[in-house]
């Protein structure tokens, strides 16, 4: 059973949300259970199991702490990067961009929009989580990790398109994913070793063949779902053709 956590300091609202979650599980016939219902941060951590992945519904402001929800979410992200986090909050407590940077939550539910709306959103989020769980059972749950300064970043391997270097900026790796461009310091050799599913198609490129759509073995140009391309070195040509045909 996939666990669900709920944190909300207002008793009346907490009971309502718990009811909505039970409802949502029933409607979606989901293999989940509302394991923890907490009213304070202490209460939450007493029952919190850091090893398990879970779906979290968190209120942002708990008692007098304006960012209690955010703090908990940060901890949860650290322990289990793939957990689903949903914030239930009022509009002006919401720092969307900051949250997106720090937590990348699955959803935000606005209290301002009324109970009916909250109910619908909770049901939707449960459905979404269930779907994700089903999909990931087939796929590798692999994530690619990198670090900038004191910050750790994770990217789902399924989203990764390529990593490459630029001789104008030595020591820096650029990463292209379905939704983002980023950069960090490192060497492609390390990443090639740590992530064997990535393919080194020439000295400066490490690519995710799962996100390639076409390979022209004559021009040795490999193209990807986002429209970007990369040249494959002569040496790697055969290896790639073999890899591509295996994937198909």
């Amino acid at each position: 059973m996939y666990p669900i956590y709920l944190l909300e300091d207002n008793k009346l609202q907490r009971n309502k949300y718990a009811e909505f979650i039970h409802n949502g599980i029933l409607i979606n016939d989901a293999n989940m259970t509302l394991e923890v219902v907490a009213g304070t941060v202490d209460d939450f951590f007493k029952q919190y199991d850091s090893k398990k992945q879970a779906l979290y519904f968190l209120d942002m402001e708990i008692l007098d702490d304006k960012i209690a929800g955010l703090k908990i979410a940060e901890k949860v992200r650290q322990n289990s990067p793939l957990s689903q986090i949903v914030f239930i909050t009022t509009h002006d407590e919401l720092s969307l961009t900051t949250l997106e940077r720090k937590i990348a939550p699955m959803d935000y539910i606005l209290k301002d929009n009324g109970l009916e709306n909250i109910k619908q959103s909770i049901t939707d989020d449960i459905e979404k989580t269930q779907q994700e769980l089903r999909e990931y059972n087939h796929l590798s749950k692999n994530v690619l990790d990198y670090k900038i300064g004191s910050r750790y970043f994770s990217i789902l391997m399924d989203d990764v398109i390529m990593l490459y270097t630029n001789k104008d900026v030595p020591g820096r790796i650029f990463i292209v994913t379905k939704y983002q461009l980023a950069e960090f310091n490192g060497s492609l050799n390390t990443f090639e070793k740590d992530y064997p599913n990535l393919f080194r198609c020439n000295r400066g490129f490490l690519v995710n063949v799962d996100n390639a759509i076409n390979y022209d073995s004559k021009t040795r140009i490999l193209s990807f779902i986002d429209g970007s391309t990369c040249e494959v070195s002569f040496r790697k040509n055969k290896e790639l053709i073999k890899l591509m045909s295996k994937n198909d």
Binding site: T97, T98, E100, K102, A104, L181
Partner: protein
């Protein structure tokens, strides 16, 4: 000699008005007559008398400008007069081809008028030259007044004048004026020019110093203002939070109630609540948390630009302090470009909203500029020089950002599309 004073007065008048013209002629005649007995000392008397007269008449007391103009005029006229005399002398020497000073005594009745005419010519030339620089002179004068430097300038010019006079008198007493006239002229002119130059430099320095002072006070005032706004905002936010929870809590009771009046009333309040949430929008006072003047300044400036362009510029600064130590100038340039780009894009949308969020941990700072997105942007193209979402825009901004980041070891850029928002994050490592 009489005419020399007259000219001097004319020059003096030029700076004020022609109303005193007659009075000046009379004054010049009287002093000229006295001057007959005292030789060159008369100029000193003349200036001294007018100065004392000026200071005695209360009306002029505050007007240092009069005195300075008078002394400066006397200074210039002294030099010009010497130059005029000297030129006339050379003319006579050439005309008679005799290089002896006694020649001048022989033709004294011709020599004096001619030297006066030449003097007048020089005066005209100087006036014309000054006319060209009139704007700068007025500007300089305004600055002098603004910073209350009048007294110092007066002392400076008076000092020059007195030293001129002392040299003249001594050389007269030694009867060598005619012999050393050339060097006198050169020394006087150099002294005058240097004095003027020093004055401009000095005034400029004072002006810069004052400006810095003003900026400091301005910053302090702005900070105080931001603190008070922040306090009010916190109060309001607290109230709103409670209010929203109360409203949410009584919703079931209202729903169960039979009173239509109560239901209508509840609905009305809920509507107002939405308007109230606008209050917190665009809360610039948070910018105070940024400890760096340049970056805070940029954000405040962009905030007001956003306002004038009807863009909702949101700040998300949840920490109390943000420190920026290294590469501030590059950060300011990059941020400026990112924010401008976001404004330009957001301006075309119905939802004109741009957010700037800053998070800082130990040694890593992330500044995110976020704007809503309503079309598909190709991530891989946006850094191409010349790429732009706007047709009439050159789009070199992002290419420049890329270049700036490539040149610095501590800066990283991340571009992300999530929940149909476009987010560009500048990551700064180390300070």
């Amino acid at each position: 000699m009489l005419f020399a004073i007259l000219q001097l007065k004319h020059y003096f008048i030029r700076k004020f008005s022609f109303k005193f013209f007659l009075a000046d002629i009379a004054l010049a005649l009287i002093f000229g007559y006295i001057g007959l007995f005292f030789d060159e000392l008369f100029v000193l008397f003349f200036i001294g008398a007018i100065l004392i007269f000026n200071w005695c008449v209360k009306k002029y007391r505050a007007n240092i400008q009069n005195s300075i103009a008078l002394i400066m005029a006397a200074n210039i006229e002294l030099v010009l007069f010497s130059l005029g005399t000297y030129s006339a002398r050379i003319l006579f020497f050439i005309a008679y081809n005799q290089w002896r000073l006694t020649l001048l005594e022989t033709y004294q009745e011709y020599f004096i008028p001619i030297s006066l005419v030449i003097n007048l010519l020089y005066l005209l030339i100087i006036v014309l030259v000054f006319e060209r620089f009139r704007y700068q002179t007025i500007k300089l004068w305004l600055q002098i007044e603004k910073y209350h430097l009048g007294k110092r300038v007066l002392v400076l010019s008076l000092g020059i004048f007195i030293s001129f006079m002392v040299i003249m008198i001594i050389s007269d007493l030694q009867s060598v004026t005619a012999t050393i006239q050339a060097s006198l002229i050169i020394i006087f002119s150099i002294l005058l020019i240097f004095a003027y130059y020093q004055l401009t430099v000095f005034v400029h320095a004072i002006a810069i110093q004052n400006e810095a002072q003003e900026k400091l006070t301005y910053n302090k005032q702005l900070n105080e203002y931001l603190t008070s706004v922040q306090q009010q905002y916190t109060e309001l936010r607290k109230f709103k939070h409670d209010f929203q929870n109360i409203m949410l809590a009584i919703k079931p009771i209202v729903d169960q109630s039979d009173s239509q009046e109560l239901k209508d009333y509840y609905r009305d309040i809920t509507k107002e609540k939405n308007e109230m949430s606008l209050v917190s929008r665009g809360n610039i006072s948070q910018a105070q948390a940024i400890d760096n003047d340049l970056i805070r300044g940029l954000i405040i400036q962009k905030f007001f630009i956003a306002k004038s362009r009807q863009i909702d510029f949101h700040l998300e600064l949840s920490q109390k302090h943000y420190q920026f130590e290294s590469e501030v100038l590059i950060i300011v340039r990059i941020l400026g470009i990112l924010i401008d780009n976001a404004f330009e894009y957001a301006e075309e949308l119905a939802d004109k909203e741009v957010t700037c969020a800053i998070t800082q941990t130990e040694n890593t700072t992330e500044i995110t500029i976020d704007n809503p997105l309503n079309e598909n942007i190709s991530l891989k193209d946006i850094f191409q020089s010349g790429y732009s979402t706007k047709r009439n825009h050159s789009g070199f901004g992002l290419a420049n950002v890329r270049k700036l980041i490539n040149e610095s070891e501590n800066l990283y850029l991340e571009t992300k599309i999530v929940h149909s928002h476009f987010m560009m994050t500048l990551i700064i490592v180390g300070g």
